[in-house]
Amino acid sequence: MDQTALIEAAKERFDFDAWPRLVGVEAARRTTGFVLDLRSSFTGWAMERRIAHGDRGYADYFQEVPEPEHRVMVRVTEHASHDAALLALLELLSGSMVVSLPRLDDLLIGDVTFCGHDEQVNALFFVRHNVLVDTRSIGDAPVSVLPFARLVDQQIFAASA
């Protein structure tokens, strides 16, 4: 058994074949050189730093100033195509110890979106066009990452061509 088998298993776990596929103009839309800038978007949140992540991606770290136990990590990685981004999302999800995770497409964030098994959305993984986004609460006290995810999605959408 090799990596392929595990990926095939992950497709089954996360119902990959049922993921919505973009068609036509939307499928061709790409975002290249996308650089996130959330610093002025959230009152009371400070950007800790930006570091390189994976292959040509980066991770931004934020901390809520009045409540420093609230921290959020946003990872952004561009891929060659929408399909490649979907496969990267699948690979990310395959590392989860959970057999399956809930889809969260109702929020209209991303083209394909997953979250954790919790009431509050402490982690959100989505693909918009050719960009994979991984947003997580990483502070000592959990905080919803939805506002971050929504804004990231908007910025990707605005930057797409």
Binding site: I51, M97, V99, H117, D118
Partner: protein, 1077 residues
């Protein structure tokens, strides 16, 4: 002290070519007929040294100028008096101070303040009627020419080089430092320019030429952008002279084709006929990111260009004004070392002349922080504080030799790049002000009567008499250093005169330093023939006796040398004291100082040379003397050229007074002051063999971005953490590891020297060993015969060695105390950690990880103990918490197709609580335990269990106590299952192999599947399953008492135990040994 303000360093001078000149009235030459005594001095810079030039002359009366590299003087048509080329030579493109004195019988020539030659001359010429001419056949710059009505003494020549002449001695003072030039003498002779002579404004800078470039040397660490997201600032002054290249590079530290490094460039915009500034991150292809200024840099104007990056935002400043910004992603590739070039870009590995800056660059400052807009403006006006920890480099090209002012590293100029200056027409000087550039004597700083009392009370006669043998020895050493009897006579004469003055007329010494206590203050007073002044004054408690004495010693050396070679008086500021303190840390300087009463004039010269080599001489000069910039650059050039060369007999002779004065100060050593060492320890290396020879230490680095420099200890590294080493017990048990030590002495010696080290903790003391010096250096490989590295198991401990030397069996003298952090592990590290000669390998063991492993597994002597202790700590000692909602990994990530351990972020969590936070999953725990154990020589890997028949289903679990949880619960819906589970596994990762799982505790009771009370146990050193590969009949009967991991974890059913099977390492995880990043 130099003005704290940063200027463009420009000055005005008269530019001449071979066909141009300046003229003044014939009457200006009336003094120069040979009938009366006179002197002439001139500041001049030759651009080419032709067969003959006339700096100043009057046809048929006199001529003073150059012949090739020599200076000459001639009365009428009498024979030419030529300077002695063996003593000094004129240099092309360097400022020289030349002087001729005539006392009515003898002509004396001086070059750069030092007497060169003398020759009898008699003349009685009629006064000339033709104009006095400045510059015939002369190509270069003229700054000042003065005619004196007295024959200047040698001391007066030296004093007048940088200081104002004695009142009433000037007959004419032709000042070309203003536009128009004027005669500031009593007769105010008119000056007219002939031909193409023109007053030029000269801005000292590096000219890149057509295809030149500048390559700072030894500057691998000046690497903005190398860390992908590291903050930086590059700020520079540039002048574009021509539009030849559409892209002109200012600062580049990587090939533009590579996805790493940064560049600061100029890009021509034809639509506005000017250059825009481009700040580039990564390559210039699509994968890079660049920011182009909206403003422009015109051709033919000096401009201040800066770029900053704060981790997210890239900015460009033009002349201190923020021009544009953009947010940036990290640079794609990490780069540990800089490939730095200034003035050209790197293409395909070499500096490209096609991108050479067609103009000049004056200064480049590199910071490891993003300066604020206010700081950018400030740094335009004020030089950076060289002590600032965030200042990486300050390359200054306004004087020669160019160096990084921060660390003294030299700078190479290639393919036609030169330090010269940008020339442009000089503006008309408003009101023709007097140029303020001469060095006035420092203010007295004390009540005149009290100072006179101090001065009158100086008496060293007894000291000189009592220590005559010491002075004899120093003098003899200087004399025998020269083979030519004439040189020996000169040196002997200089020494005798210095000793006579010290004994009988101490105030006639050029630079005598004394210390006094007045009104609760300590004062350092400098006595010169013209008077005395307070060079330093501070509260009595500010400095102890010994420190004060050392300051006097080194101030006597450097201030005395400056005085001897330039005639300029020095004062001590706090900044100067800091610089002198740095000088004292140089082994060569300390060795010379240790010579004490045996210090020679050659030794003084050696101190200058050591300060020059270390890059300290220029900042010392800047800190010690108070002159204008033009004077300063000439003094620096003069001293640096002297210090960088071979000490001629004249130079050494001029320093004898300094040596004699030093001896007098040395003899006043306070009782509280330890003797300075004679043998100095230059370095100590643990991992000294690049091929990991038997006996040396493990090759380690600090973390992903920083290596451990070898030798690990050099002077100045005072903390144990700064000089670490690591040993494997398996390598040193029954063996004798060794260290490599480099020693320096001041001079070749015939004495026997031994060294030893006491203390050393687990490294043990170093037995006495004889030292054989090769010249003045010895490299020793010393066995650690008394080490007890293996006795304590895994550990981290700080040790200190007191290194001592002994000369001719005398008392042991301490030369250094070295502190070290010692890491001891079981065996050489296993993958992902590596060993090898390449110190840039980021998979070498990190001391940042060893800091934790050696603490967590302290005392462990077996791999099993290490694993158990590390697993226990990860499970319950560092605050980790299981991801109960998404089960995702927080500390692993894919890169280049391989799953990697985000070790740097995890260390950040351990140290600060930051990083990626406390939430983890099983992959994280397995990876952490594996990496933190394998660095100590354990050999395990992260491996997974799942339903190999259908990996998509997972396996059902028992209630567990997940890491960081306080209640028992079965994991995730649906079906309380794990999709897979990853643990640290030994052996082949199969049924009988031991598992260590920091992710959870399970029920170790006889019925792990029951609903009753649970007995929590951490899975350490437990086999995967005692039942083996054959699937048993399920459910298993209770009680189940075997110590078997799977049965404790998985439900007692086919969907549980039946689907929980060994799989092996996760594909793409480097066989379960995830590389660290």
């Amino acid at each position: 002290m130099q003005s704290p303000f940063r200027t463009d360093s420009s000055y005005v001078a008269l530019a001449l070519d071979a066909l141009s000149s300046a003229r003044t009235s014939a009457a200006a030459g009336n003094l120069l007929t040979g009938a009366r005594a006179f002197s002439i001095d001139a500041w001049i810079r030759f651009n080419g040294l032709p067969a003959e030039t006339v700096v100043i002359g009057q046809d048929g009366v006199f001529a003073f100028g150059s012949q090739g590299p020599a200076v000459y003087f001639q009365f009428g048509t009498q024979s030419v008096i030529l300077s002695d080329l063996a003593q000094a030579q004129l240099q092309d493109d360097s400022w020289h101070y030349i002087c001729i004195t005539f006392d009515g019988a003898m002509v004396r020539l001086y070059i750069d303040g030092r007497f060169n030659t003398g020759q009898n001359a008699m003349a009685q010429l009629p006064a000339g009627t033709l104009p006095v001419v400045f510059g015939q056949g002369l190509q270069g710059l003229v700054r000042r020419i003065r005619i004196y009505n007295v024959p200047l003494s040698a001391q007066a020549v030296l004093d007048n080089m940088y200081g104002p002449p004695t009142s009433g001695t000037l007959a004419a003072d032709f000042d070309f430092s203003v536009n128009p030039a004027v005669d500031r003498g009593p007769f105010a002779y008119p000056i007219s320019l002939q031909g193409s002579a023109l007053a030029f404004k000269v801005s000292p800078a590096a000219s890149l030429g057509t295809v030149g470039f500048i390559r700072p040397m030894g500057e691998k660490a000046v690497n903005p952008g190398g860390g992908q997201t590291d903050p930086y600032t590059v700020q520079t002054w540039v002048y574009v002279a021509a539009r030849l290249n559409p892209v002109q590079a200012i600062f580049v530290n990587s090939d533009l084709m590579l996805d790493t490094g940064i560049a600061l460039l100029l890009q021509y915009d034809a639509t506005v006929s000017a250059y825009r500034v481009v700040s580039q991150r990564g390559s210039d292809s699509d994968s890079g990111q660049s920011l182009t200024s909206s403003g422009t840099i015109p051709v033919g104007v000096w401009a201040n260009v800066a770029t900053t990056f704060d981790g997210v935002t890239l900015s460009i400043y033009l002349n201190g004004v923020l021009d544009r910004t953009r947010v940036c992603a990290p640079i794609p590739l990490y780069s540990q070392f800089s490939d730095l070039v200034i003035g050209a870009a790197i293409a395909q590995g070499v500096a490209s002349g096609a991108t050479t800056l067609q103009g000049y660059v004056r200064e480049v400052d590199v910071w490891s922080v993003a300066l604020s807009a206010a700081s950018i403006v400030t740094n335009m006006a004020v030089p950076p504080d060289l002590e600032s920890v965030s200042l990486e480099a300050a390359y200054v090209f306004s004087n020669s030799p160019a160096r990084n002012q921060v660390n003294g590293h030299p700078i190479g100029l290639a393919e036609g790049a030169v330090l010269s200056g940008q020339l442009g027409p000089a503006p008309v000087s408003a009101g023709v002000p007097m140029a303020v550039e001469e060095a006035p004597p420092p203010p007295m700083g004390l009540d005149p009567d009290l100072m006179a009392e101090l001065r009158a009370g100086l008496d060293f006669s007894d000291l000189v008499e009592r220590h005559a043998a010491d002075f004899d020895a120093a003098m003899d050493a200087d004399i025998v250093a020269f083979a030519d009897p004439r040189d020996q006579i000169l040196i002997a004469s200089a020494w005798r005169e210095a000793r006579r003055k010290l004994a009988l007329e101490p105030t006639s010494l050029p630079f005598l330093v004394t210390e006094h206590r007045i009104a609760g203050d300590r004062l350092i007073v400098v006595h010169r023939p013209a008077g005395s002044y307070v060079a330093y004054r501070a509260d009595e408690a500010a400095l102890d006796d010994c420190t004060m004495w050392k300051i006097r010693l080194v101030f006597t050396l450097i201030g005395g040398a400056i005085d001897a070679l330039t005639g300029v008086g020095s004062t001590l500021t706090d900044k100067a004291i800091v610089q002198l303190g740095r000088l004292l840390t140089l082994p060569r300087v300390a060795a010379q100082m240790a010579a004490g009463v045996r210090l020679t004039a050659a030794g003084v010269f050696a101190v200058l040379g050591a300060a020059y080599t270390a890059g300290l001489l220029r900042p010392l000069i800047v800190a010690l003397i108070d002159v204008g910039f033009w004077t300063l650059i000439r003094i620096i050039a003069n001293l640096l050229l002297t210090a960088s060369g071979v000490g001629s007999v004249r130079v050494i002779a001029s320093l004898t007074a300094t040596a004699a004065t030093f001896i007098s100060v040395y003899l006043q050593k306070p009782a509280s002051c330890d003797p300075l060492p004679v043998v100095n320890m230059a370095s100590l290396a643990f991992d000294y063999s690049p091929t990991s020879a038997a006996g040396d230490a493990l090759t380690i680095r600090r973390n992903y971005g920083n290596d451990v420099a070898v030798p690990e200890w050099v002077p100045g590294r005072r903390n144990a953490v700064d000089a670490p080493c690591a040993y494997a017990i398996s390598s040193v048990s029954g063996a004798t590891p060794s260290v490599q030590v480099v020693l320096n002495i001041a001079d070749v010696t015939t004495h026997s020297v031994r060294i030893q080290a006491t203390g050393g903790g687990i490294l043990g003391a170093v037995d006495p060993v004889s030292v054989t010096f090769t010249g003045t250096t010895a490299t020793l490989t010393l066995p650690l015969s008394h080490h007890t590295l293996a006795a304590g198991g895994v550990q981290r401990t700080d040790v200190a060695w007191t290194w001592q030397y002994q000369v001719d069996g005398g008392a042991w003298m301490t030369m250094a105390v070295t502190q070290h952090r010692v890491y001891v592990v079981l065996s050489p590290p296993n993958a992902p950690w590596q060993q090898g000669a390449l110190r840039t390998n980021q998979q070498l063991p990190w001391t940042d990880v060893l800091d934790f492993t050696c603490e967590w597994a302290k005392g462990a002597t077996t791999p099993g103990q290490v694993l158990t202790m590390v697993t226990t700590r990860v499970n319950s000692g560092i605050g980790l918490s299981y991801d109960m909602t998404s089960g995702a990994s927080f500390y692993t990530a894919q890169s280049a197709g391989v799953s990697r351990f985000l070790c740097g972020l995890f260390l950040d969590y351990l140290r600060t609580g930051g990083g990626n936070g406390r939430t983890v999953n099983c992959t994280d725990c397995a990876t952490i335990v594996t990496n933190f154990a394998n660095i100590a020589g354990v050999d395990v890997f992260a491996s997974i269990m799942l339903n190999t028949a259908n990996p998509s289903t997972g396996f059902a679990c028992n209630p567990i106590l997940a890491v960081g949880q306080t209640t028992w619960a079965a994991p995730f819906p649906p079906g309380n299952s794990f999709s897979y589970h990853e643990v640290t596994w030994s052996g082949t990762g199969s049924y009988p192999d031991a598992i260590y799982d920091a992710c959870l505790q399970y029920d170790t009771g006889p019925n792990p599947w029951g609903t009753g009370p649970h007995t929590a146990g951490l899975p350490t050193n437990v086999v995967f399953s005692t039942l083996g590969a054959a699937l048993p009949q399920l459910p298993l009967p209770t009680p189940f008492t075997a110590n078997s991991y799977r049965e404790g974890l998985a439900a007692n059913s086919v969907p549980g135990i039946g689907r929980c099977l060994p799989f092996g390492p996760n594909p793409g995880s480097n066989a379960g040994r995830r590389p660290v990043i």
